[in-house]
């Protein structure tokens, strides 16, 4: 019987090795090089440290300031840089990423990106509301801008979110993402008084904020 016990051990030990080393992505993407040896020019570790996405070989990168604006305009089909958009870009330039390292992201970068996205979306709204035939609109065809935010149904809102997700993220929104955006819609309307929420401007503002959120989330500003 002891022989069987030994056989079982001999069977499981290699399996354990396979599981541990086979599924743990050991040394994947050339990561975790010794910091001292990677920077011969420095006496210390003067690269971006262990969080550098380039050092980790991370297959994701951040859009730089210039790339962010270009990308936002491209995915929204906004072709003209308005004065207010240019002004916002200049104000936020210092907060936006100077490079492509994902670890360079910080709080002001996200706030700046969302603010910039808001201005791009403002241009987009102006552009789309100018198209009289709603069916010819790219993103807001399902939205009735003549009535208040309370009249924006979940169906029409979701249709618009789907269009933005496909263009800004290159994919459909997930159930979780949709739930979050829908919750924002609820919160947005709750924050308005009874009169304001029935005014047309509230719908435009709702779509402005939703558009800015989708256009400035991580998946929209990274590649």
């Amino acid at each position: 019987m002891m022989n069987k016990y030994i056989k079982m051990t001999l069977l499981f030990v290699p399996l354990m090795g396979l599981a541990v080393f086979g599924f743990n992505n050991c040394a994947r993407y050339n990561q975790l090089n010794d910091s001292a040896s990677t920077d011969s020019a420095s006496l210390g570790n003067t690269d971006s440290g262990s969080l550098s996405s380039q050092k980790l070989g991370l297959p994701y990168a951040l859009l730089s300031a210039e790339q962010t604006l270009t990308s936002m305009m491209k995915v929204t089909n906004v072709t003209t840089i308005s004065n207010t958009l240019l002004s916002e870009y200049n104000v936020r330039y210092g907060s936006l990423a100077a490079g492509n390292d994902l670890s360079m992201a910080n709080g002001p970068l996200f706030l700046g990106t969302t603010s910039l996205a808001g201005e791009v979306c403002n241009n987009l709204l102006t552009q789309e509301k100018g198209v009289m035939d709603p069916a010819a609109r790219n993103f807001f065809g399902s939205i009735n801008f003549a009535s208040g935010a309370t009249s924006v149904t979940d169906t029409s809102f979701n249709t618009s979110v789907r269009g933005m997700a496909r263009s800004f993220w290159g994919r459909n929104e997930t159930t979780e993402e949709l739930a979050l955006i829908q919750q924002y819609k609820t919160d947005f309307i709750s924050a308005l008084d009874e009169t304001t929420r029935t005014q047309a401007a509230s719908t435009s503002n709702l779509m402005l904020a939703s558009c800015a959120a989708i256009l400035s989330s991580v998946d929209a500003i990274s590649y």
Binding site: T46, T84, Y93, I181, L208, A212
Partner: protein, 474 residues
Amino acid sequence: MSKNKKEIPMWAKTGHAKPVTRRDFLSAGLLPFAASMIVPNWVSLLLGPQANAQTAISCPLPDSLIPFVTVNLSGGAAMASNFVPMNAKREPISSYSKLGLGDNQVPIEKEFGNVPFAGINNGVLISKFLTGIRAQANAATLANTAFIAIPCDSQNDTSSNKFDISGAVTRAGLIGTNFPNLGRVNNGTGLKQAAAIVAPPSPLVVSNYTALLTAIGYGAALGTALNTTQKNSLAKLMSDLNTSQTRKLASIQGTDGIKNVLDCAGIKNVDVVAKGASSVDPRQNANFSQIWGVNTNTAVTNRELIFGAMVYNSLIGQAGSSNLDLGGYDYHDNTRTSGDTKDLDAGTVIGRILQSAAVLQKPVFVYVVSDGSVFSQDSQSRTAGWAGDRGSNGVAYVLYYDPKGRPATSDYQIGQFNDNQAADTSFITGGNPELAAAAVFANWCQANKRNDLFAKVAGRILSTDQLSQVIKVA
């Protein structure tokens, strides 16, 4: 051992039945190691990254560390002609004739305890740097400030000297509650110096006061279209969306740190947006405003408002370190006039920083650097004009203010000058800006009584013996 004994199975010895199930194997002691090693991986394989969804995000909390402000005098300031550098015995070198101070009988003005500055010549204080500090910081503040000079040969007129340690202090835990480390120049460090020891996180570049103000909120179309509650909800939405979208990073080994950086940035923004603009405005404090000469009508491009706001937020812990950059220090025009004006300006800024700390009752470490230096024609005059660049007589300063009293120091100088009127490069820090920067970092760690942080961040860039030679803060 007999064969019979070998054939008695373990489970039989314990009086249990033959193990068949996983639970049986575990109780037999065969698989506990395998269970602990394999099961979490299988869970991940089966459930994917969602398995980590419930893991609480651990955002770094600001440590209770001394605020750190770097002032860069871009262009090569005459720092060895304001503070009077001494030799290894802390005696005057043979001459100061190339340093614009004449022979070695330079009149000395003591400040910060026993620190020698270029003193009074024909009724006028030679050191305009000290003049500027004294004009802004009162006697009580100066009495609570220690000063250390670090002679160091550095390259002239370049941003490649590795003097910046904002990365090191950030890595050590000096993290702002609302802002990252702040800088004035749109590059990796926020000032015209390269990173020493470790590169800093991307600084928030404060090109004007609005940049600081807008960095904590939504502007432009969103600023006018949304009310406060809607802005707060938007910050929450962004935080949640980003947390959801960065979850894919969890499946890539070694990226926990980056996911945390992204998630925490969003989480912090929820709080930042809710607090609003007033929380970052130094003009909320009348005494502070008076130091910097700013009020509600001050233009957003005004340097004193920008510097004051950066310093204010660093001192109260809302921002990490602040990197201030002053231009115009490549002032060798064969006169002393331009240089004196700029030195006075540097002293004024540093005096204001010290006095700001005094008003807010906060300690502060002020690190003053430049790129190279200047020389005068060999002259016995103590007012000789600056003739050109000379990095070999570079010096960096550290000023350490503590509201509780002047911090004790064992010396006012790290390393020494030699009779060539230059930094002695035979000393550890004399010929290497990065080692001089490491020495400053070591003193900051010592001031915090956290020498463990030096090893953690800088490793062995300085040996134990070298550290004992460069640490002057008691």
